[in-house]
């Protein structure tokens, strides 16, 4: 042992330096790759946000400092889009959490065919989002949509509900479809968290006279809360960035009432070719999501994942 230590100590400094650098060389290919596919686009994107750049007006391309951001914060359309984003995120995350929690708690019990139910509930989550959104668009269609058809047949309504043609209903439609496609993820998370709750705690509380609700309220729920909060944050980030849902289901309408920031950014950059302004909107989204991201990592650390 001492012999080896001596040999290492007597190794020339250049060799030691080389050995110290070895890990960096080993991760170099990954770093090059990440720099190319994440770093470079990010830097270019940040630069674009400080330019007037319309792809069809290349002669007007110029650095315009904070003009895009100043314009964005004075732009009524941006504020409406931000409001839509937050309402969409709030609605989808809250309801998908509640539904996922309910489904998770129910499916945590032992009963026949539990595995089958668990698998079936996962279906909305595993179907490609665009496919499910298009299917929902057909089902919510006011002309021959399945939902209106069933409600009419059952005599619950006497004329079709305009799910996608009225601003408030269109937002509710977005939320319903979003919840449908996301609650299975919440359910899985809740199930995973529940599996870590020691049964002895609930048993002890029961012996002490607590009913099922009290056990859930004062023991189970506080124990699964940290994990589910992390899942909530992730869900919020994904929902905020979900372009396909409003794009496919409502096209952002009616009257921009379902146009979130991510869709507005797309329209500016890829339909009006305003790359500069569109990118600045994307950067604003990114900053907002970074806040959630920081929260996410802090919570993760608190729970010991990165400790």
């Amino acid at each position: 042992m001492t012999d080896i230590a001596d040999r290492v100590q007597t190794r020339p400094p250049t060799a030691r330096r080389r050995r110290d650098l070895l890990p960096y060389w080993l991760i170099a290919p990954s770093l090059v790759f990440l720099a190319a596919i994440i770093g470079y686009p990010l830097v270019v994107g940040l630069q674009e946000g400080f330019k007037y750049h319309n792809r069809l007006q290349p002669w007007l391309t110029r650095f315009n400092g904070l003009e895009n951001y100043v314009k964005a914060f004075g732009d009524h359309e941006v504020w409406v889009a931000l409001k839509v984003s937050f309402v969409m995120v709030g609605g989808i995350v809250v309801f998908s959490y509640l539904l996922g929690l309910l489904a998770g708690v129910l499916l945590d019990r032992k009963f026949a065919f539990r595995g089958v139910y668990r698998a079936l509930i996962l279906v909305p989550w595993v179907v490609p989002p665009v496919v499910s959104y298009i299917s929902w668009q057909w089902m919510l269609n006011d002309q021959s949509g399945f939902i209106d058809h069933v409600l009419l047949q059952l005599g619950i309504i006497d004329k079709p509900i305009l799910w996608l043609a009225r601003p408030t209903l269109a937002m509710w439609s977005l939320i319903i479809v979003g919840v449908w496609s996301r609650f299975p993820f919440m359910m899985i998370t809740v199930l995973a968290a529940l599996s870590n709750v020691p049964e002895e705690l609930a048993d002890a509380a029961s012996i002490d006279g607590a009913n099922r609700w009290q056990v859930f309220r004062h023991i189970t729920f506080p124990l699964i809360l940290p994990v589910t909060i992390v899942a909530l944050l992730l869900q919020a980030i994904w929902t905020f960035n979900d372009f396909a849902l409003p794009f496919v289901l409502t096209g952002g309408g009616p009257a921009n009432k379902t146009t979130p920031l991510v869709l507005l950014s797309y329209r500016e950059a890829f339909q009006r070719f305003n790359i500069g302004y569109g990118t600045s909107l994307a950067v604003i989204s990114m900053v907002l999501m970074l806040i959630l991201g920081v929260l996410y990592f802090r919570l993760q650390r608190k729970q010991g994942v990165y400790a």
Partner: protein
């Protein structure tokens, strides 16, 4: 041994880094691009021709057959055809241009040559225009088919087909109600009001009004053109907030309020066509392809459906226009073989060759040659004949009458639907407010090169 192992490991490490770098370089360098390498040997000149998915597999196969026929007739030139998807073609083309490998010849939407000219990428084909003018080709074309592409002192493309829009109507319903075929805006509104009967599952008129689609602006722009308006003035300035557009918008709003489906703000052409084919609409604004679709999916309506004459609006008889998108072919400036590309374009535009394309999907592609109106493709079915005649006699598109604002018009995207039509028909904005806002927001897109 240790040294050898270390050397080997260093070599392996170097190889890994090199391989990663090479993989990245290759990945970045791979474009969809044109194969413009110079012909070193005696082989044929290679041209890349990119075009859209214009129709059914039968139609796309006919494009390929035309290309194959050209290749056979021209042993010195070999054209490779690549089909582009509508979803991302703009990005693909703009990226190819920036990467320096666009196609030699290409097709696209009705504004693509203007967009490419703005990038300095559209080859001036005025020599072909001179040829077509002198050999009588242009005499056989509607003026808009070639005038549209005279831009900035150059000729940047040529129309190979029109994509027609029209108002379909139920002849039987009008006859039953004793209503004459509408010829003016007022006639249309009166007829649609009379036939609108929601309690019996019948709407007066079906039009698209959904936000975020290109369908919605087409009915509105038909009205704008018939009101004598357009999107740009002679200097290329936007003309959105104008009395003509206000008249068009007020009329559309009134039409939706009186006699369209309550769900119109969420309707695209899909819903419009479905309502009409299910017998739930007396009038429907739609594309030229409606005729073929109705025949296929609603055979009961055969003989009961007609096409309204192009309506007269506030713009008077001179403004009796219908929207017919002039779809172009163009040559890219970066081509290494402009002469061969022109030979190919000229051959593709020959009437007998282009006719084969039209014949591949009868009733779905509309002619650029007036004389083809007598061809059985367009003369055998009265509905198709009427549509084709309207294309030739009244068809213009959004660049009419002034293409000076071409780049701005091409950049509007779904702005007309998003900012003007949809918010107004949902009652969320007043027409005046929507037009003013659209003028302010879309105006900067019309800035031209000084």
């Amino acid at each position: 041994m240790l040294k050898l192992a270390r050397r080997r490991s260093r070599t392996a490490l170097g190889a890994t880094v090199l391989a990663s770098a090479l993989a990245l370089t290759t990945a970045c360098g791979l474009g969809g691009g044109s194969d413009n390498q110079d012909q070193q040997g005696s082989g044929p000149v290679k041209l890349n021709y990119w075009d859209m998915q214009w129709g059914s597999p039968t139609f796309m196969n006919q494009i390929k057959k035309n290309v194959a026929e050209f290749n056979k007739e021209h042993p010195g030139i070999h054209v490779d055809f690549t089909q582009l998807a509508w979803g991302d073609y703009q990005q693909k083309l703009l990226s190819a241009v920036q990467a320096g490998n666009p196609p030699d010849v290409g097709g696209g939407d009705s504004g693509i040559p203007f967009n490419m000219d703005a990038q300095g990428q559209a080859l001036d084909i005025s020599d072909l225009f001179a040829k077509w003018e002198s050999d009588g080709t242009f005499d056989d074309m509607p003026e808009w088919a070639y005038k549209k592409w005279e831009y900035n002192g150059k000729d940047v493309g040529i129309t190979w087909q029109f994509d027609q829009r029209a108002i379909y109507y139920r002849k039987d319903l009008l006859k039953q109600a004793g209503i004459p075929v509408p010829k003016t805006w007022d006639d249309l509104k009166a007829a649609a009001t009379a036939l609108n009967d929601p309690n019996n599952d019948m709407i007066g008129i079906a039009i698209p009004g959904k936000q975020g689609t290109y369908d919605t602006d087409q009915f509105y722009m038909t009205l704008v053109l018939q009101a004598g308006g357009g999107l740009s003035d002679e200097q290329g300035n936007p003309t959105i907030d104008t009395p003509q557009q206000l008249e068009a918008l007020n009329f559309e709003k009134a039409l939706v309020d009186c006699c369209a489906a309550a769900g119109t703000p969420s309707w695209s052409f899909t819903e419009v066509l479905k309502a009409f084919e299910q017998g739930k609409a007396a009038f429907a604004f739609g594309g030229g392809w409606f005729a073929a679709d109705i025949e296929k999916n609603a055979p009961d309506l055969k003989g009961k459906v007609g096409v309204l004459p192009v309506l007269e609006g506030p713009g008077g008889p001179e403004a009796r226009h219908s929207v017919a998108f002039a779809n172009p072919w163009m040559i890219y400036k970066q081509t290494d073989h402009p002469d061969e590309a022109k030979t190919f374009l000229s051959w593709m535009m020959e009437k007998q060759n282009i006719r084969k394309l039209y014949a591949a999907e009868p009733g779905a592609k509309w002619p650029v040659y007036k004389s083809l109106l007598k061809d059985p493709i367009y003369s055998s079915d009265p509905l198709v004949k009427k549509l084709a005649t309207q294309v030739v006699e009244n068809g213009v598109d959004y660049w009419y009458p002034n293409n000076a604002g071409a780049v701005g018009i091409a950049s509007v995207g779904t702005g007309i639907a998003d900012m003007i039509v949809n918010p107004v028909i949902t009652g969320e904005r007043s027409p005046e407010d929507a037009l003013k806002d659209a003028q302010d927001r879309l105006g900067p897109l019309f800035q031209t090169q000084k």
